[in-house]
């Protein structure tokens, strides 16, 4: 399995180069600037039809991801393309050799996401998203759309289906003295390139890991499968969870394409029951997360 920390950190003092697909769009432009301010090494942009131009007078723009890779050697790309063009842009990136694809767009059709995941598997690449806020190692690299202020470097991994709850809960953690070694947005769609269990595999062997916070929500069975994996692997480090949507009505999509309960499939009750079985406390409110985490760490 690709080591996500190694991919994000790069080797030596050189910062890992990152490509932005859709760099000239309104959203892409804004977040590229914010990522650069944070210190992310944005080396190239890709916008078909705008090859040869420069972004912000400094970052060269290419027609295809292949040209951008040939010029920069980047292995990471973040995508800000409209959902309708997602599949084409993702193919362009994966076929050109991108190893970590951060898929920001919301409203990507499920079948397009599944096709992209198939291709990523063949190419030995990872996709995070779609509909993810991105991934970051606080104070080092931010590849995504999250604001900078909630995050502080530390030893807790935060894995979240939701964007704003990731900010809210990371902020609660930071102000309680729990910095983060990585925060990763799984995404709010039914199908995720990096599932909760995949994200767990990415972080579980991080040497200084003190604990994991899982921010789940109704829909699907990612939380249940995650809890089962914790039981199966007899993982002993502290884990705390939160599940949004306990009081949401059934059979209604609650904002995220994936946040829907069908029968018992995807219900908060089912998730909370599985977390309990795995001895993972579930916070009722976002502010309780650091309190429960502190409790878990004491017991250890």
């Amino acid at each position: 399995m690709t080591d996500i920390f190694e991919l994000l950190k790069g080797k030596g003092s050189e910062k890992q180069p990152v490509i932005v697909q859709g760099i000239t769009g309104k959203f892409g432009t804004r977040h590229t600037k914010l990522m650069m301010e944070y210190g992310t090494n944005i080396v190239a942009g890709v916008t078909p039809g705008k090859g040869g131009q420069k972004f912000d007078n400094s970052v060269p723009i290419y027609e295809t991801v292949k040209e951008a890779i040939d010029a920069t050697g980047a292995k990471i790309s973040i995508m800000f393309v409209p959902a309708k063009f997602f599949l084409g842009a993702a193919k362009d990136a994966l076929e050109a050799g991108i190893k970590l694809l951060i898929a920001i767009p919301e409203h990507v059709p499920v079948q397009d996401a599944m096709k992209t995941i198939e291709l990523a598997k063949q190419k030995g690449a990872i996709m995070i998203g779609p509909n993810t806020p991105g991934v970051m190692i606080p104070d080092l690299i931010k590849i995504g759309i999250m604001p900078a202020s909630p995050f502080k470097f530390g030893n807790v991994a935060v894995l979240s289906k939701s964007g704003t709850l990731l900010y809210e809960i990371s902020n609660n953690l930071s102000t309680s003295g729990f910095g983060q070694c990585i925060t990763l947005g799984i995404g709010g769609d039914p199908i995720n390139g990096t599932r909760l269990i995949d994200a767990f595999d990415m972080v579980k062997d991080y040497p200084n890991l003190d604990g994991i916070v899982v921010v789940g929500e109704i829909g699907g069975d990612a939380e249940e499968v995650f809890a089962q994996k914790i039981i199966d692997e007899n993982f002993k480090k502290p884990i705390v969870a939160y599940v949004a949507g306990r009081k949401a009505p059934k059979e209604k999509r609650m904002g995220h394409a994936g946040a829907i309960v069908m029968g018992n499939y995807g219900s908060a009750e089912s998730k909370i029951a599985m977390f309990s079985k795995a001895n993972i406390p579930v916070a009722k409110r976002p502010v309780e997360v650091p309190i429960l985490l502190a409790g878990k760490m004491e017991k250890k």
Binding site: V110, I145, T164, L165, P190, G220, A222, M254, Y265
Partner: protein, 368 residues
């Protein structure tokens, strides 16, 4: 999009999956004509986008005109689990030997389609014990797999080819229409071993709507939901009296949970989304002002992609235009929250440092 039974059955028919004679209507005048065409006895079935209608009285047998005149309006005016009847399906009664269960759904953890089938049908699948579950990848179900499932659920020889045929057609329908779920419950076995879909349920991927213009006619959205979609935010109408607004689906769900825990009831779930502007939030407030039963507004924002000041500007404009006359309780965090608090400090909006306090205040307000 969650298709109603009659809509799913229209697609079944298109894909050559056998269904009973049935006609859908939305008023009793059309219903009377349909009754003549179908002929007594038949069943009156409430078309609602939610399960459990049988127990709620949404399916009624009808033997003659007197019964029809009594029951049609009853079922049409019914509300089942908060959902009003959208239409009525009149359906010929069928004689059959056995009810079974068949569905295909998008298995989110395995990231493939999965078949669920059982020789016990007609009840909710959660309560069925002998389920056969088979993961089948992204494409259509092969004949071989369909035969294996048929044997596993213990079908008689004369039914197997019919089951295989229906499962393959259902799979084609699921893949082509980009459905997350297609369910036939019950699928009934007739005397000669052939099969018929007595009920139908489908959930399609809303994000693929742009390439399925043929499904647009099935869109059952309220005026408010349509307006919300046009403005780029998601709205779910609920039956309480506190309008809940925020940015990000997770944060708004979390707010809804905490409000309910504290004895409040949400009138709506409104996520202004990741691309909110002052104009779109103003539009959201306009929508809320048109909703009945709303007594107060609860706002929970964590500024990131969307700056809280964008929302604050929308509130100020809405106060100026007298769009909001209701009490508003808000908690603002993140990007530009200090600026937003300053902007709103002389307005009617009651700001709280924590969401817990804002919720306590809104619950006291509506219970006063």
């Amino acid at each position: 999009m969650r298709l109603l039974e009659y809509q799913a059955k229209e697609l079944f028919k298109e894909y050559d999956i056998r269904i009973p004679d049935s006609i859908a209507s939305k008023d009793i005048e059309s219903g009377r004509k349909d009754a003549e065409k179908i002929g007594y006895p038949f069943v009156i079935k409430a078309q609602v986008p939610v399960g459990g209608r049988g127990k709620a009285g949404g399916i009624q047998k009808c033997h003659n005109e007197d019964e029809f005149e009594l029951k049609y309006p009853q079922v049409l005016n019914m509300t089942i689990k908060g959902e009003k009847t959208r239409a009525i399906l009149l359906e010929k009664m069928s004689e059959y030997e056995k009810e079974i269960y068949l569905s295909l759904f998008l298995n989110r953890s395995k990231r493939c389609y999965t078949i669920i089938s059982s020789a016990e049908g007609g009840v909710e699948i959660e309560s069925v014990k002998n389920q056969t579950i088979r993961e089948v990848g992204l494409g259509e179900v092969t004949k071989k797999v369909a035969e294996e499932v048929a044997k596993e659920i213990g079908l008689k020889e004369n039914s197997i080819p019919h089951f295989v045929d229906i499962l393959q057609k259902l799979s084609k329908l699921t893949v082509e229409k980009e459905a997350e779920l297609t369910e036939i419950n019950p699928l009934v076995i007739l005397k000669d071993g052939s099969m018929m879909a007595l009920d139908g349920k489908m959930m399609t991927d809303d994000n693929s709507n742009f390439r399925h213009k043929e499904l647009a006619k099935y869109q059952e959205k309220t005026e408010l939901e349509k307006k919300a979609e046009e403005s780029g935010f998601s709205l779910v109408e609920l039956d309480g009296n506190v309008a809940v607004i925020g940015n990000g689906a997770g944060l708004v769900m979390s707010t809804l949970d905490m409000l309910t825990d504290n004895g409040g009831k949400a009138a709506c779930f409104l996520d202004v989304g990741g691309t909110a502007t002052t104009e779109s939030v103003y539009e959201a407030l306009t929508l809320i002002s048109k909703m009945k039963n709303v007594k107060a507004v609860l706002v929970n924002l964590y500024g990131g992609i969307v700056k809280t000041s964008i929302v604050a500007s929308a509130f100020l404009k809405a106060y100026d235009d007298k769009i909001i006359v209701l009490p508003v309780f808000a908690r603002l965090m993140g990007a530009e929250s200090e600026k937003s608090k300053e902007m709103l400090k002389d307005s009617e909006t009651k700001l709280s440092p924590s969401i817990e306090e804002a919720i306590n205040n809104v619950v006291m307000e509506v219970n006063k």
